[in-house]
Subunit: 403 residues, 2 copies
């Protein structure tokens, strides 16, 4: 079996179709993936701008006790019309442009006002340095600066920047539609009664949630019992309705593992096993639907919930990110909080928690339950995946994968 | 002016109405907030379960070369009917219950099969320890164990656990509907033309995105120019349509700062300024709408984008979490990557980035632009808020607020 890195690298090298593009309203863009760079079309601010309420004047006029004639008042949003000359000023409000000839904003807090002969004056009680409370041209960004890269997930800050650029509709990658097919005679859908030998289908729901986080739309198909014909019919339906398919269960070595046989017979196998724990039986193949020449991907993931989720994180997420041209920086490092003994011989991906102690980022598997790969509660509380291919000691710097 | 901690504490002590509850389908629950504890109604698994494909047998029979008669075959999902006695076994598949009398699963990989006199036998090539590949009763959780607490945000892992419990509809807190009103004569809505003195309204969009992350629904109202009557009319409309209101702009000391006057005149002021930079002019009040005796909250945030976002994080988020009874663990610590000089006298909340170097969690403001509180690009790339009330040295352990 090949290592995770090698398996993933080989797999990604063989898939490259980028997702197609659509336009969405900015207010619906959260969580979508930008399909173009967002560039500043002008300096921002484009002109000197008051950052406080006060007077715009020449720095050469500023000293405690100076008395400047107010030639006009300029609210934010209006174009300035008056020029500030020596010993004059323009009353200016936060966000207003700085009038011609002015370079400094003396804030209200530093001023007194007086009138004399029908003229209004500002008296500077306390001086400020030249350029005070003025947003310089290009302070936020310069014309042509690339502010967001194609392939970025759009978070609240990206929304703020896109709005600042005046963008109302934005080009994003279409959400890949992903069929989620849970297989196994022991599975029952949530909300229904079951016998003690049966369990609820949690994989389809968990994967749909993960896919939503990854900018995709998961479509949950009915559970397929261990029946080859039902499986084929469902896969064909999913094939015609979705961009790619994820199945869970049926990839191991038993005689009910129809998914294993299906992808081996019908597909161009891209991944067949990988040296990871959990998930070594994972299979990924390209298959043709009935009456179709188009090939689509099937990720045949193992059935235990922790295995299904982990292998989706290890293989489906990088694939989706590749479709979006998104940066893959899932792997981080931390300090191991206690000795870790490798389970079995394969590279372990164990649920772990992060904490910071005295400035050190610690990773720990303490508090996680030991047992089979069916323990999904280990993923609660923002768990990450500790990644180790040999036993390690407390204090070692180790790798983990963010979820 | 009071400190942030004191201001927030006093504010939260005066608001306590919990959000009301509704039921949603599990598949629509991602990002919502659980309104009840989720408890295991039985041990999971409830009975010993095979974690691999193989034979269920007695550990006392297991040794290399042992030959066990196969009395039946048990797929996952079926109730066992046969009892395993000495020198017999039940062929069992991943997820199947362990038959009575068996305690260990010998996996297929360790077996050979043979037939003799119309009976089928499994021959153990390699032995395993007692209990091998058996999910013990309660391995995932025990009956009565609380798996998720009321007030938890529902992530993919919570969805997995809720599905595992068979829950189809789940009680969550209703999404508070939040009116977003940007004020300022300089503002123009995205997609429209503007003059060089105008800027686009980014606050409403950014806040709507933040609120979505916080389990709320932001409703963007039309921009209000600096006009007291238009402002009052809009506030009254928002008052009747939403659960609470956020305005941006108009809270400072100038004569166009109508929001300041409005909340001071019409509201029961809960917060009036706070010793923070940015955002010291923030105001929070309870107001009555026209023709209403119900009081609702208005958060009057400053107008510059970085200030508006920061004050929303500092005050609106804790309020929302309080409505949900959610755990507020926003504050973390890290090691300062370079000297930090306090800007002004107030507690600074500066955009910063995190990285890990040699196991140390470093926080840095390098790469963030210096200038006014209008620089929203500083919040890109998963920025956090470095929190300092005095200058600090490289290597100091400092606090930051996660966004």
């Amino acid at each position: 079996m090949k290592s995770y890195n090698e398996t993933l690298g080989d797999f990604l090298a063989r898939v490259s179709e980028p997702s197609s593009i659509e336009f969405v309203e900015l207010k619906n863009a959260l969580g979508r993936v930008l399909a173009c760079d967002a560039k500043a079309s002008s300096d921002y601010p484009a002109m000197l701008t008051a950052a406080m309420d006060g007077i715009a004047c020449k720095s050469s006029d500023i000293k405690a006790g100076a008395k400047l004639r107010i030639i006009s008042s300029l609210p934010a949003g209006s174009m300035p019309s008056d020029e500030v000359v020596a010993n004059t000023c323009v009353k200016s409000f936060t966000g207003a442009l700085m009038s011609e000839g002015s370079d400094t904003l003396v804030p209200l807090e530093n001023l007194e006002f007086t009138s004399q002969n029908n003229e209004n004056y500002a008296i500077i009680k306390e001086s400020v340095q030249a350029g005070f409370a003025v947003r310089q041209i290009g302070e936020s960004y310069k014309k042509g600066e690339i502010l967001l890269r194609s392939g970025s997930f759009i978070d609240y800050a990206a929304i703020a920047v896109l709005a600042e650029l005046g963008i109302k509709q934005i080009g994003v990658y279409k959400k890949p539609k992903v069929a989620l097919i849970a297989t196994g005679s022991e599975l029952v859908d949530v909300g229904l009664a079951k016998n003690p030998a049966q369990i609820y289908n949690s994989n389809a729901y968990a994967l749909a949630a993960l896919l939503e986080n990854w900018g995709c739309e998961g479509v949950i198909y009915p559970i397929i019992k261990d029946n080859e014909n039902a499986l084929k019919a469902c896969l064909n339906k999913a094939f015609s309705e979705c961009d790619f398919i994820i199945t869970t269960g049926g990839v191991s070595v038993g005689e009910f593992d129809f998914m294993r046989d299906f992808v081996r017979q019908s597909g161009e196998i891209l991944v067949d096993k990988c040296a990871i724990k959990p998930g070594r039986h994972i299979k990924i193949a390209r298959i043709c639907g009935e009456n179709s020449k188009v090939k689509k991907l099937v990720f045949a993931l193992p059935g235990f919930s922790y295995s299904a989720i982990t292998t989706a994180i290890l293989f489906v997420r990088p694939y989706v990110y590749r479709l979006f041209g998104a940066k893959m920086d899932f792997e981080k490092t931390a300090v191991l909080a206690e000795d870790y003994e490798l389970k079995g011989q394969l590279e372990n991906f164990s649920a772990a928690s992060l904490s910071v102690e005295n400035g050190k980022l610690l990773i720990s598997t303490k508090g996680k339950k030991q047992g089979s790969s069916a323990i999904s509660t280990n993923l609660l509380d923002l768990a990450v995946l500790l990644r180790l291919s040999s036993s390690a000691k407390k204090g070692d710097i180790v790798r983990y994968i963010e979820i």
